[in-house]
């Protein structure tokens, strides 16, 4: 019922262009995440969907209705803000009821909806308090309550968890996910945190500098990043992106004289060309059989308990390589580690355009 269509959406402030022709269809009931570094235009894009910013070109429609010229209130949306944006002089109840009062709903209906939302979010005990008396997590719930009572056809979230501490963030993340599943309302969620994006979204849009880098499911983005940017952005610790030269027969990527790896399929078209090779830290393995074609000298080791991170560099070139080994592995600074990787898990990007090569 509430599909969102973005059709060549452009936005500029005076001479400064912020969004360049964004195309996307968000399906009914879908939870999508817009993710990107700060300043990439993701919040602007969300605000154009909300109607808080007018777009300069293109078309936005919500539920088959073009909303370009509609006010935020007419778009049948609700939004949750980063700083909660609770009205400080109103009680929790009034915060949630304000929008309903403006729409002229009956008092009984307002009460029913607010109480229902309060039950859903377990904030019934705080209805009489003012936002000042609530903790960060409670405020976040009230902000979501204010969105729910509107019974909108679209939820918009603008980095709602970034003000919470790490533990609470994980908890609220799950709650938002469950809530969205239960209500089945189309949701657009903006974040700069790739873990949030991967865990919450059915589909993700990776935005960079106002351009869409890639659209896809979290797994697609992880397994087949379309660009070097997405490759480095998705995944933690981030993917090793290393300069290499494709050998004359196109079968090998050579980092330096002693370090190279075989490709899953030959790339004769790229022979002798400079490319960027992407290796995820968790896909690199230590190979003790000495058949490996590459090895690093370890500079630093980090023990995380569940994993061990080792940082080192190839002999003969100064590229830093990180690898992530499962469990506690005893590695010392200065060790030489022979490495190997499943050729299917090697990502190759054109160094000039940043595009994936296959």
């Amino acid at each position: 019922m509430a599909e969102i269509h973005l059709n060549k959406v452009c936005k500029s402030y005076g001479d400064v262009d912020v969004l360049f022709g964004i195309d996307w269809t968000i399906f009914d009931g879908e939870f999508v995440v817009i993710v990107g570094p700060s300043g990439c235009g993701k919040s602007t894009l969300l605000r154009t969907i909300a109607g808080l910013e007018k777009i300069t070109q293109g078309e936005i429609s919500i539920g088959n209705r073009v909303v370009n010229d509609l006010e935020p209130a007419e778009r049948d949306i609700a939004m949750v803000f980063q700083n909660y944006a609770l009205y400080p002089h109103m009680s929790v109840y009034d915060n949630m009821a304000y929008g309903l009062k403006i729409r002229g709903l009956e008092k009984d209906e307002i009460e029913r909806r607010v109480n229902h939302a309060a039950d859903t979010l377990e904030i019934r005990d705080y209805l009489d308090r003012s936002p000042r008396q609530l903790s960060g997590g409670q405020r976040q719930r009230v902000a979501m309550g204010r969105a729910i009572v509107r019974e909108p056809s679209v939820f918009l979230f603008d980095e709602p968890l970034s003000n919470l501490d790490a533990k609470l963030r994980v908890q609220m993340r799950l709650e938002i996910k469950n809530l969205q599943q239960r209500l089945g309302i189309t949701s657009v969620y903006v974040t700069h945190d790739q873990v949030e994006a991967m865990t919450l979204g059915h589909r993700l849009m990776v935005l960079n500098g106002g351009y869409v880098e890639q659209l896809g499911t979290p797994i697609e983005l992880y397994e087949k990043p379309a660009t070097e940017f997405v490759a480095g952005f998705i995944g933690s610790p981030s993917m090793n992106l290393l300069k290499a030269k494709i050998s004359g027969d196109g079968t090998k990527a050579e980092f330096s004289d002693h370090n190279s790896l075989y490709l899953a399929s030959a790339l004769p078209s790229q022979a002798n060309r400079q490319v960027t090779i992407g290796l995820r830290p968790e896909h690199l393995m230590v190979n003790k059989t000495s058949q490996a074609n590459m090895s690093i000298k370890v500079n630093a080791v980090e023990h995380l308990g569940a994993d061990t991170l080792a940082h080192g560099e190839f002999e003969g070139c100064d590229e830093i390589v990180t690898l992530r080994l499962h469990g506690i592995v005893m590695i010392n600074q200065g060790d030489i580690l022979p490495l190997e990787i499943d050729p299917d898990k090697v990502h190759i990007f054109d160094t000039e355009t940043g595009k994936r090569l296959e």
Partner: protein, 293 residues
Amino acid sequence: MAVASVETSIRTGSMTRVFLYLVLILFSLFYLLPFVVMVLNSLKPLSEITGGNMMALPEVWTVEPWISAWATAQIGIEPTGLSPYFWNSIKMVVPAVAISTMLGALNGYVLTKWRFRGDTIFFGLMLFACFIPFQIVLIPMARVLGLTGLAGSTPGLVLVHVVYGLGFTTLYFRNYYMAFPTELVRAAQIDGAGFFNIFWRILLPSSGPIIVVSVIWQFTNIWNDFLFGASFADLDSQPMTVALNNLVSSSTGVKEYNVHFAGAIIAALPTLVVYIVAGRYFVRGLMAGSVKG
């Protein structure tokens, strides 16, 4: 170790405190002296003042000068006392303060939350109003009042003071609202609130401190204004300050200093009351605007 040092710090602290209080009390006595002289002399018969003893306590306490100043003293040619002019001032000050504060708040709201092309230049120009001396606008203002038919009336004075105060009130509210989270305005927009609903229900309820600042500032300035009152008012709209001048500087008859003192105190009383009632918000409001803005 830590405890011991805390104790010494408290001892030296209390010593310093006693000294501080002494100095402060001395200064406040010094500043209160003129007021005390006024009060004392307003409560004694004229003969005691002309007898040459300004600083002494009254031998005969009397409120006669106060009654005279309020109700019967000769102001200009009428023996009306200050009371009609007091009400003239009230009738001028209350709407002028209310209107200039509301318009200032509205300006601040638009300049921070509904930004438009050239808004900073617009604000800069409004700030000029704060630096224009009263005397410069006298003639143009007289012309405007004449053309609008408001010359010599209380609404005319209200207009003058609103126009003159707008620069200041806009500055106060603009700085205050700069620090007001824009997300709240956005949230209200999504909740369906319009321009004025957001202003009334979201911004104004959070504007207490800055409203107090604006009211005190405007009230003091408008109440104490003499030049506009003397220039643009008729006999039936003259404010308190002009009447006080007429009372004190009349060149015929005996100078009733006790009545003059009483009159001066009456003229200063409303601003004093406003300060006492709202003063503690004054500094807080000024700080809130300046620090965050």
